[in-house]
């Protein structure tokens, strides 16, 4: 939907929304946001980390985790290997520790290009560990969502990731660890119905698709006349589900403010970490 078609030698990129053609380098510099219509095109986990964390502050973790095929589900192995080859990732989420304006955060970033950002055992485990690292390191946890929902091919194991991740969020709640979730395009189904919706603060990029069931399913469920903005971030915001819609360029500063405001009580507990290693890669 918002995946831009490339023209020529990759020197030009067409906006998926308004069809305007941009110089590829300008488009990338503008964080893949169309300078003409403001459409936020999807970005990779790697790029997201670059524009969110202080330079060289991100340390990736959990890199050894990859999915199996526990159910021997038809075609799953092929799809997974294909996604690995295409993206260079082992699953749909990249996790680690980074800093935002000097403040340590535990970070998870979904990459939609890996099997639609779907949540199987590995994604569930990595989000859980991200929240647990917040608990352990006494720092806020931030999760960027970009997902169609649970990964069918792991059957009930995927459904259980909804519970597992929500349990980790509950432990963060109890331990007063701030947990911020950012909905990007799309944030759907099993992910929306679990850890994503129980964050302390929920931000969203403009026009991101946000919803419980695919539009097709909703229509089957008797939704004949849906509003134009149905299942958008704006729809969810208007119905009280999102704190703030923030443009991509402003996300880092908003996150930085929130980390400082909600994480103030944690600074003493971080054993002088901020002073000694501020801004430096661990």
């Amino acid at each position: 939907m918002s995946k831009p078609g490339k023209l020529g030698e990759g020197a030009f990129i067409q906006c998926a929304k308004c069809k305007k053609i941009h110089f590829a380098n300008e488009f990338e510099e503008n964080l893949r946001v169309c300078s003409s219509c403001g459409w936020h095109h999807r970005i990779s986990a790697q790029r997201r980390i670059e524009i969110t964390c202080d330079a060289n502050s991100f340390e990736e973790l959990d890199q050894d985790l990859k999915s199996g095929n526990p159910l021997d589900f038809p075609d799953y192995d092929e799809k997974r290997v294909g996604a690995e080859d295409k993206t260079g990732l082992l699953d749909s989420i990249v996790t680690g520790i980074g800093r935002i304006d000097g403040n340590r955060v535990s970070l998870a970033v979904a990459d939609f290009s890996f099997m639609g950002g779907s949540m199987g055992s590995v994604a569930g485990e990595k989000v859980t560990r991200t929240l647990e690292r917040g608990l352990e390191k006494k720092c806020p946890a931030i999760v960027f969502c970009a997902t169609g929902g649970a990964r069918m091919q792991e059957g009930l194991l995927s459904l259980m990731q909804m519970a597992k991740t929500t349990s980790a969020a509950e432990r963060c709640n109890r331990a007063s660890i701030p947990y911020i979730c950012v909905f990007t395009d799309p944030t759907m189904a099993g992910v929306l119905a679990s850890y994503a919706s129980v964050a302390d603060v929920i931000l969203a990029e403009p026009k991101s698709m946000v919803g419980f069931a695919g539009l097709r399913v909703s229509k089957q469920a008797g939704v004949s006349k849906v509003p134009d903005d149905f299942q958008s971030a704006e729809f969810a915001y208007n119905h009280g589900m999102i704190d703030k819609i923030v443009e991509r360029k402003d996300l880092k500063s908003t996150l930085s403010q929130l980390v400082q405001l909600l994480g103030g009580h944690l600074l003493e507990q971080q054993e002088g970490d901020k002073l000694t290693t501020r801004g430096a890669k661990k």
Binding site: F73, G155, M162, T166, S167, E170, G190, A193, A221, F230
Partner: protein, 328 residues
């Protein structure tokens, strides 16, 4: 077993019904038969048919495939939540309302006594008549249902009552109205609340354990499944529609998704299977209720040795390690 894949329970149970019809007819004849010898012969033939029927029933139900389990789990005469509530618990008082927006009749609940001790029962209720099905939204709970459940969980916590949830839903309501009032948030918040309780929780999949709508009230120290219930990340038909663009390939999807109690237990996603009477819970609801009661009591007894914080940690730990991964 029939060669073609049955689409409904009726279709699949047709051989049984044929035998039952035969027995009924013979009995009608036998009642009028005056001749002793012919009466004895009829009696023998009835017994014979009954024996074949019982045999057939036992064989059929001991070899249920995943799709047949789907059909049985959805059987319209399968016991529903209130059937169990009436037979297993005493003095149930239904408490209603989410204190926010409205009523939901697909998830209901309230306090009751189990063997004389108060517990909080919450579960999905489907309807049998057309009117009741509509009232119950065909078991698809709305946000208000989960928010009511949260209220009841809070009452259980406040008054130190163990929680029993009975799960039986094709899934949560995915319509425009449910979406606009935050069905996703409601499910997530319900799970979050259940993880925060320091009272014992037991969840039982009694029929259909459908997706997020099911797990929204299935966060427990012990998760049990009736023998012929199913538990799945997605309805088989939905899975088939997405993967193969063929909703009619539900039977294949049911197989691939591994939705049966046995499969789910093999991945240690549930703790115990509650056996059903021969021919399924719908053929002997009283006996199924008795099995449920025995199972609830023994599991609650085991959990009673744990303190509040231990119960909380036990529940978190139970779910913490679910998942199967490879290491790179």
């Amino acid at each position: 077993m029939a060669n073609a894949v049955p689409r409904t329970l009726d279709e699949w149970e047709k051989p049984l019904r044929d035998l039952e019809d035969g027995i009924t007819k013979l009995k009608a004849v036998a009642v009028k038969e005056k001749d002793d010898s012919r009466a004895a012969d009829l009696k023998y033939r009835i017994q014979e048919l009954q024996r074949r029927h019982d045999n057939y029933l036992e064989v059929m139900y001991s070899q249920l495939g995943p799709w047949e389990k789907v059909l049985v789990a959805r059987a319209p005469n399968r016991p529903y939540m209130l059937d169990y509530v009436n037979q297993v618990f005493e003095g149930f008082v239904e408490l209603q309302g989410d204190r926010r927006y409205g009523q939901d009749h697909a998830i209901i609940g309230g306090p009751a006594k189990l063997n004389g001790s108060p517990v909080m029962v919450v579960g999905h209720q489907k309807g049998r008549t057309i009117q009741e099905r509509q009232l119950r939204n065909f078991g698809y709970a709305r946000p208000e249902g989960y928010r009511k459940a949260i209220r009841l969980f809070e009452l259980a916590q406040r008054f130190s009552m163990p929680v029993v949830t009975l799960v039986d839903t094709p899934g949560a309501d995915a319509g425009l109205e449910a979406e606009s009032r935050g069905i996703s948030e409601a499910i997530a918040a319900s799970m979050l609340k259940m993880f925060s309780l320091t009272v014992p929780i037991i969840s039982v999949i009694i029929g259909e354990g459908g997706s997020g709508g099911a797990i929204g009230i299935a966060i427990a120290n012990r998760v049990l499944m009736f023998e012929h219930s199913i538990y799945s990340v997605i309805a088989p038909e939905g899975c088939a529609a997405i993967l193969w663009r063929k909703p009619e390939m539900g039977p294949q999807a049911a197989e691939a998704l591994k939705v049966t109690a046995e499969s789910v237990l093999s991945f240690q996603l549930i703790d115990q299977i509650i056996p059903e009477p021969t021919g399924g819970a719908h053929r002997d609801p009283a006996s199924a209720a008795q099995s449920l009661k025995v199972s609830l009591l023994s599991n609650l007894a085991e959990l009673s040795s744990l303190s509040g914080p231990e119960l909380l940690n036990d529940r978190a730990n139970r779910f913490r390690n679910l998942g199967v991964m490879a290491i790179h």
